[in-house]
């Protein structure tokens, strides 16, 4: 097995950077502040749990981390054989091997008290290895120091130093300790490691039908790693691994295949899990993988490759405002808004039937406008508001005003055929600005942001027949065409909207559309 010699600088940054995540073979553990993590590695017999632990420890040794291997069934000779292929034997000096059964008088047929004693011996040996309890120190002395640790972490144990711990296997330990004592042992272990910086892997042999022990321990440990064994159509054995659960973190539980080479090295299909790469702090907006190289940043999104960035933007462009339906994060986008509501719809003298007719009439009239029909569904966002609606246009800043003028013409024609009580009156507010796509409680796509809020505030200022336009959109339109310059008029230099914000307010009108009167709220 090759052992890179020049690890020092990498190790240094790795250990000092507690804000970054930890890369263990095939798995990225998201960032966590200092503290231990106990992971249960479960899988069938022969899947490679011990070899995985071997790699986990070797990668720690290469980073200069302290490593501890605890086994109740492996002898010292067998342990040495496990690491016999390692070229640079000096790194093994930083690893402790603990087998409490070697050198003790315990035998497999002892009573429950012996089981507890065995568990205590394992924890005592571990404390010594972690330098919490020096050799020869009594339990009382250790306990006293443990209490002091709460006040001064530097006194007992080196909490800043990363330690890797393996207990292989819990299945064999269960035979010696019994199920109840084993669970108590794991609980004691979590207490012991609390406040230290230990990543521990406890192996457990499971079958597809017996997951009881995994279930029991899952509430005690911080995460569960699963391994599985399959055969492909060519009778080749395929091993794979995934992080199924990690407390306090979202993690995509994706299986990653791996092979075990003749020298015991675990080789993952995805080479990016190599320990020689820097640990990641960001995940790709498209594939959600940790970014191990230089991230590509565009707008407020981060990608791990050009391919991911291109695929994201193809999807984003194709789905338009529906991008949030895919679950992909969306960036802010610019839209021009048409906000309309029916004036006097909540008048208590109006029957519900009349109210519904008016809402339906407004919907039909809007749908019949050319500017609405000619805008493809992907380039517009419709948000019903009960007595009206907001329509966001992604294509052109002119469309909201075109729609307003066309709607006024349609309403004029509609009202000529109706009695006064049935006639339709609307007020319209236009604005533009950035918005974000979000999914609401029903997972329906929705938008929110200054663009739509401004259109609403502007509309609220109007009376029947008004087409009011917020400053930025109005000035953009005025600079665009002379015909807009003729119909868009400044009506207030400092119109105060909610939260004390002051804006310039414009009104669009001519003899065919709009309302030339100053709105009552502006006049006041």
């Amino acid at each position: 097995m090759s052992t890179p010699d020049n690890n020092l600088s990498h190790t240094q940054s790795y250990n000092n950077n507690n804000s970054s995540g930890l890369l263990i073979p095939g798995i990225y553990l998201p960032l966590q502040s200092i503290g231990s993590r106990i992971l249960l590695l479960s899988g069938p017999s022969g899947v490679g749990k011990t070899m995985y632990c071997r790699q986990f420890l070797l990668e720690g040794l290469l980073k200069g981390e302290k490593c501890i291997f605890i086994s109740t069934d492996l002898s010292k000779i067998q342990f040495n054989a496990l690491f016999s292929d390692v070229e640079n034997k000096t790194i093994l000096d930083h690893m402790d091997f603990i087998n409490p059964c070697e050198g003790t008088s315990l035998s497999h047929n002892e009573t429950e008290i012996s089981s507890k004693r065995l568990a205590t011996i394992i924890l005592s040996d571990l404390e010594r290895s972690l330098e919490i309890r020096p050799a020869g120190e009594t339990e009382a002395q250790a306990s006293s120091k443990q209490m002091m640790k709460e006040d001064d972490e530097d006194v007992v144990g080196n909490t800043s130093k990363r330690v890797r711990l393996v207990i292989d296997s819990m299945t064999h330990a269960q035979l010696l300790l019994g199920e109840r004592t084993l669970i108590e042992f794991v609980m004691d272990l979590t207490r012991l490691l609390k406040g230290l910086n230990v990543t521990a892997i406890l192996t457990l042999t499971t079958s597809s039908v017996d997951q009881r022990m995994v279930s029991n321990l899952s509430s005690i440990v911080d995460g569960i790693i699963e391994m599985r064994l399959k055969e492909d159509s060519n009778d080749m054995t395929i091993r794979s691994i995934r992080l199924r659960h990690l407390k306090g973190s979202y993690y995509d539980p994706k299986w990653t295949s791996f092979k075990i080479s003749s020298d015991g090295t675990i080789i993952f299909r995805n080479a990016q899990h190599s320990s020689t790469r820097a640990s990641a702090q960001f995940t790709c907006a498209l594939c959600a993988k940790p970014i191990l190289g230089t991230p590509l940043v565009k707008s407020d999104l981060i990608f791990d490759s050009k391919e991911c960035m291109e695929i994201y933007y193809r999807l984003e462009n194709a789905y338009g405002s529906k991008i949030s339906d895919t679950g992909l994060p969306s960036e802010a986008f610019h839209a021009s808004f048409f906000y309309v509501d029916i004036v006097g719809l909540s008048d208590p003298t109006l029957s519900v039937k009349n109210q519904i007719q008016k809402i339906q009439a407004l919907n039909e009239l809007i749908h019949s406008c050319d500017s609405f029909r000619k805008t493809s569904a992907g380039k517009r966002i419709i948000l019903p508001s009960g007595d009206g609606m907001a329509i966001g246009f992604l294509s052109s800043s002119e469309t909201p005003l075109e729609l307003s003028i066309q709607l006024h013409h349609k309403i004029h024609a509609y009202n000529q055929q109706k009695y006064t009580a049935d006639s339709l009156g609307v007020r319209i507010g236009l604005g533009s600005g950035p918005v974000f796509t979000v999914s609401d409680l029903n997972n329906v796509q929705n938008i929110w942001g200054p663009g739509i809020i401004l259109a609403r505030r502007v509309m609220d200022a109007g009376d029947n027949g008004h087409i009011l336009i917020a400053e930025k959109l109005a000035e953009e339109l005025i600079s665009l065409k002379d015909e807009y310059r003729r119909v868009i008029n400044l009506i207030s230099n400092k119109y105060r909207i909610k939260h004390g914000q002051e804006i310039k307010l414009y009104s669009a009108y001519s003899k065919d559309f709009g309302n030339p009167q100053i709105p009552a709220k502006v006049f006041l």
């Binding site: 399959k230 492909d232 159509s233 080749m236 395929i238 794979s240 995509d252 539980p253 994706k254 299986w255 295949s257 299909r269 995805n270 498209l286 594939c287 959600a288 391919e307 991911c308 291109e310 695929i311 933007y313 193809r314 999807l315 462009n317 194709a318 789905y319 949030s324 339906d325 895919t326 679950g327 992909l328 493809s376 992907g378 999914s439 997972n443």
Partner: protein, 299 residues
């Protein structure tokens, strides 16, 4: 450089699957590793084309019930089995991923589109599929047989491809729909690195009754009017059908990459199967060869 090629159309029945399978076989025969995916998830057909009953499907991969190793079926032996001419050249691997035609699986794929969280998991595995085929399976070409029209999985398929072939069929061609679709969504892909091209299939007026499928020996007896044998046919003009030979290119803003004539012996046979292997001198095979040699595919 590995390429991901998607065959797409506005409507079904344009010949996407036939062209995709034949191109995949041709590229493999020329030594390239090819992965062919049935992404027509709403109406899968590759399993029927290859007459293969898969144990694991692309659907299983998307729902994390299987690995890529399990869903990609090595069909390389099919190439040598059906090739009319033995070749000493090294044949590339032809791996095929099948889509599950069971209605429950199709519903499931559609039914999962309920929450953004469920969607993103599927989409990410889908994106990873392309990456794994290139990086882990060392595919030189990934060929996608997509669903027609603008649907969730056809958009996703087009988004992961480098080269898009918008396939049109003459006859019942819905030109207006195709042009609208091209203008609505293809710009979204080409704006960010993809290349899109028009591919005309089943072009009328070149139909030559042949007997290839009954007796390849009888090909020698064909009349001299069948001068197209062994060469690609040059498509003259589409003025009769479309009013202008550049009408479609102008309207869709896409270059016409190839026009494949309609061949009765292929069109009306019970089942076409890898014509490029079985009848390498067939004009259809030659036409595909010409397509493969365009700089876009790069053989």
């Amino acid at each position: 450089m590995p390429r991901c090629i998607a065959f797409h159309s506005y409507k079904g029945g344009t010949g996407k699957t036939t062209i995709a399978c034949n191109l995949a076989a041709m590229l493999s025969l020329r030594g390239y590793n090819v992965s062919l995916l049935d992404l027509d998830v709403y109406a899968p057909s590759l399993h029927a084309y290859f007459n293969y009953s898969a144990n694991k499907w692309i659907n299983d991969l998307l729902f994390e019930n299987s690995d890529l190793n399990e869903i990609m079926v090595d069909m390389t032996s099919t190439l040598t089995k059906h090739a009319a001419e033995k070749t000493d050249r090294k044949i590339g691997k032809l791996l095929v991923g099948f889509s599950n035609p069971q209605k429950e699986e199709i519903y499931k794929l559609e039914g999962s589109m309920k929450t953004a969280n469920a969607n993103i998991q599927l989409l990410r595995r889908f994106v990873q599929l392309r990456e794994d085929l290139i990086s882990d399976f060392e595919s030189d070409y990934v060929i996608l047989d997509t669903s027609p029209g603008i649907r969730y999985w056809s958009i996703n398929s087009l988004a992961i491809a480098d080269i898009l072939f918008l396939t049109l069929k003459f006859g019942d061609l819905d030109i207006e729909g195709t042009i609208k679709m091209a203008n609505d969504i293809y710009g979204s892909f080409t704006k960010f690195g993809s290349k899109s091209f028009l591919l005309l299939n089943l072009v009328s007026g070149y139909c030559i009754p042949r007997t290839y499928l009954h007796s390849s020996q009888s090909a020698d007896k064909m009349s001299s009017s069948m001068a197209a044998e062994g060469t690609a046919i040059e498509i003259q003009t589409f003025q009769n059908e479309l009013g202008s030979d550049t009408f479609l290119s102008d309207q869709t803003k896409m270059e016409l990459i190839s026009a494949i004539p309609c061949y009765c012996d292929i069109q009306f046979q019970k089942k076409e199967f890898l014509t490029v292997l079985q009848y390498p001198d067939h004009p259809f095979a030659k036409q595909l060869e010409q397509l493969a040699m365009t700089k876009q595919i790069g053989v």
